[in-house]
Amino acid sequence: MSGPSTYEPQTGFTRWLDARLPIIRFARDTVIDFPTPKNLNYWYTFGAILAFCLAVQIVTGIVLAMHYVASTSGAFASVERIMRDVDYGWLIRNIHANGASMFFLAVYVHMFRGLYYGSYKAPREVIWILGVVIYLLMMATAFMGYVLPWGQMSFHGSAVITNLIGAIPVIGEPIKIYLMGGPAIGDATLNRFFSLHYLLPFVIAGIVVLHIWALHVPGNNNPTGVSVKDVKKDTVPFHPYYTVKDGFAVVVFMILFAYFVFFAPNALGHADNSIEANPLQTPAHIVPEWYLLPFYAILRAITFDIGPIEAKLLGVIAMFGSIGVLFFVPWLDTSKVRSMRYRPIARQLFVLFVLASVGLGFCGANDPDKFVFKFGPDQLVVNYVDTNGVAQVSPKFAEYDGPEGAAAFARALPPSSGAAVAVVEDGFKWLWLSQILAGYYFLYFLVFLPLLGIIEKPKARPPSISESVRKKQSPSAASAVNPAPVAAE
C-alpha cells in the first residue's frame, strides 16, 4: 500500500543518518505520507484513541507503581495513601482506574467497527487476529490490575476467576495452583499479579506495533469496503488529514474521560472494593467490572448439563468460546462483500448482535434469578403440612385479608399444620434473557455469518472510493455500478 518511499533527505546529517538508520524515512512513510483512504469516518479514529489509552495507562501505571505496596497487609493501605497523601495521587489513580474503562469502551467500538465494515477479511486477517490477541491481553491485564487494590471485590472476584480456571478438566487444577502460588489467593498471588500487570501492557504495546505493521501492508479498510484502486484518487496522506481527524477525536474522547475522572470517578466501580479484602466474608453480589459483564453472563447462562459435561465446565467453555470464536471470524464470514453497508440482511443481524452483546452486559450485572419484568403482581401462597404429614402448597391468592385471602385459608387449617404465608413472584428471569442473548451471540458467528455469504444478495457497491465520495457530494453523479460481487471487495 505504501509504495516506494518519497522521502529525500535534505541536509548532510539526514543523508548520513538515512544511510545508517533510516528512522526519519520510516516515520515519514508511516505517519506522514502514508496513503489513507479519503472516506474514513469517525469510527476509524478509535485506533488512535486506543493508542492514547494505552499510553495513558502505561504512564499513570508507572507512577502508581512508585507508590503501591504489593502485599496483602500493605496493598489496601498503600492505595488509600495514594488517594489521600500522595500529591495528585487521587488524580493519577482516578485516571488509571477510569482509564481502564475508557480503554475497553474504545476497544469495543473499534471491534464493532471492524465487524461492521468487514475489516477482518482478506487481506487483513492477521490484523484482526493480532487485535483479538491484544484484546485478550487487555482482559488479563485488567483482571490482574483489579486485584491489586486488595478490596473485597478484588479478592473475591479473583477467587471466582481462578476457580473458573480450576474447572477445566485435568489441566485446570495445576494451572490454578500455579496462578495462585498457594492454596488460596494471598501474598504470592498478589505479587505475581503485580509483576504481570506491569509486564503485560508492554507486551500489548509490542503487539500493537505488529498490529499497525500488518495494517500498513494492505492499508486501511474503509466504510465502502472497496479496495484502493488508484492511490492518487482514492487516498490522502495520513498527515495532516488523519492526524488532525484522529487528534480531534482524541480530544472529544478526553472530554468524556475527564468527565468520569473529575465528576464520577467511582461510577464505574463497586462500593465493595472500598472495603479491605476479608477472606472470611464474601460480598453479597459478586460482579466483574462492566467490560467483562457480557462474558460473565455467558458463563452463568449455562445452567444445564449436556451429556457427561456438567454445567460448570460448559459455562467455562462457552465463556472462553465466546472470545475464541473471534479468532475464526475471518473464515466464518463467507461473504465476498466487506462492508455491511451493502449487505442488507447481515446489517440487521449485526445491529441485533450489538444489542445482544450490550444486553448480555446487563444480564451479567443482574442476579440471574431476579426478573427482567414480572408477569403480574406478586401473589401469596400458604405452605402447610396436611393431616398425612405431607408438605403442601395452597393455590395462589392475590390478597392477604378478606374471605378470599391467604389469611382466611391459613385460619381454616388446624394449628398443627404449621401454616405459613409466603410471597410468590413470577416473571421473566435474567437467566432466560442471558440464555437467549448468548444463543444469538453464537448463532451470529457460527450460523448467520457463514450462511449469509451464500444466501444474501448484496447491494451495488461504488466502483471506487473516489466515486463513492464524489457521489455523496453531487447527487447527480452516475449511480453506482458493479452489482456482481468481486472477490473480497
Binding site: R84, D85, D87, Y88, H239, P240
Partner: protein, 193 residues
C-alpha cells in the same frame, strides 16, 4: 501535528487563507503545549514527599533521659539526629576552642537553643547526624570512637568533629548542621526537619 505547512495548507486558498491557517497552527500548538504542561504538573508533583511524609517530619525528645556523657540518635523521616548530653569537661573543651581559628567558625553558644526560661542549656547539644562531607553518619561515644577532638569521628573519610560538632580535621567542609528545634519545656525538645 500542526507545525508543518503541508500540501493541504497551500491547496486552494490564496493569501488570506494562509494567514488564517497559520493562526490555527499556532493556536492549536499553544493549546497542546498548555495541556501538556497542565498534565505534567501533577506527574512531577507526585514525586515529592507525600502529605503523610510531610506530617511525620518532627519528633519530641525528653533530654532528661539521656545519661551524661552519652547521646541518643533520633530518626525523623529517615534523617538521623544526635542529641548529646555533654559532660562539664566536654563543654569546657568546646568553649575553650571558640577562640581558635576554625574551618567553619562558630561559637559553642551559637550552636545551642534557648530553654523556655531564656537561658542556654549547654549540657544538651543537638546536631544533624550527617557528616557534611558526603552524608555518612559519624560515630560517637556509644560506638567507641569520638575522634581526636572528643566529639564525633566519621569513619567514611576520616572527618573529626569536636564536642560542639564543629569540623576540626578531615575532608568535611562544614560543622555538623544544627537542626530546627526548640525547647517545648525545660526537659522536652522538638526537632523538625
Amino acid at each position: 501535528m500542526s507545525e508543518h505547512g503541508s500540501k493541504a495548507a497551500t491547496a486552494s486558498e490564496a493569501h488570506a487563507g494562509e494567514t488564517r491557517r497559520d493562526f490555527i497552527h499556532i493556536a492549536a500548538a499553544t493549546v497542546a503545549a498548555g495541556g501538556v504542561a497542565a498534565v505534567a504538573w501533577p506527574f512531577v508533583q507526585q514525586l515529592g514527599p507525600a502529605a503523610d511524609t510531610r506530617a511525620a517530619s518532627s519528633a519530641e525528645v525528653d533530654v532528661t533521659k539521656i545519661p551524661e556523657g552519652s547521646e541518643i540518635r533520633v530518626l525523623i523521616g529517615g534523617m538521623p539526629f544526635f542529641v548529646r548530653h555533654r559532660t562539664q569537661a566536654e563543654i569546657d573543651r568546646a568553649r575553650a576552642d571558640d577562640k581558635l581559628p576554625l574551618r567553619d567558625p562558630a561559637s559553642d553558644e551559637s550552636r545551642l537553643s534557648k530553654t523556655p526560661d531564656g537561658s542556654y542549656n549547654p549540657k544538651i547539644l543537638v546536631t544533624s547526624g550527617l557528616c557534611t562531607h558526603l552524608g555518612c553518619v559519624p560515630v560517637g561515644p556509644a560506638q567507641g570512637s569520638v575522634g581526636e577532638f572528643g566529639g564525633w569521628y566519621c569513619p567514611c573519610h576520616g572527618s573529626h568533629y569536636d564536642t560542639s560538632g564543629r569540623i576540626r580535621k578531615g575532608p568535611a567542609p562544614k560543622n555538623l548542621a544544627i537542626p530546627t528545634y526548640e525547647y517545648v519545656s525545660a526537659s522536652m525538645i522538638k526537632i523538625a526537619l
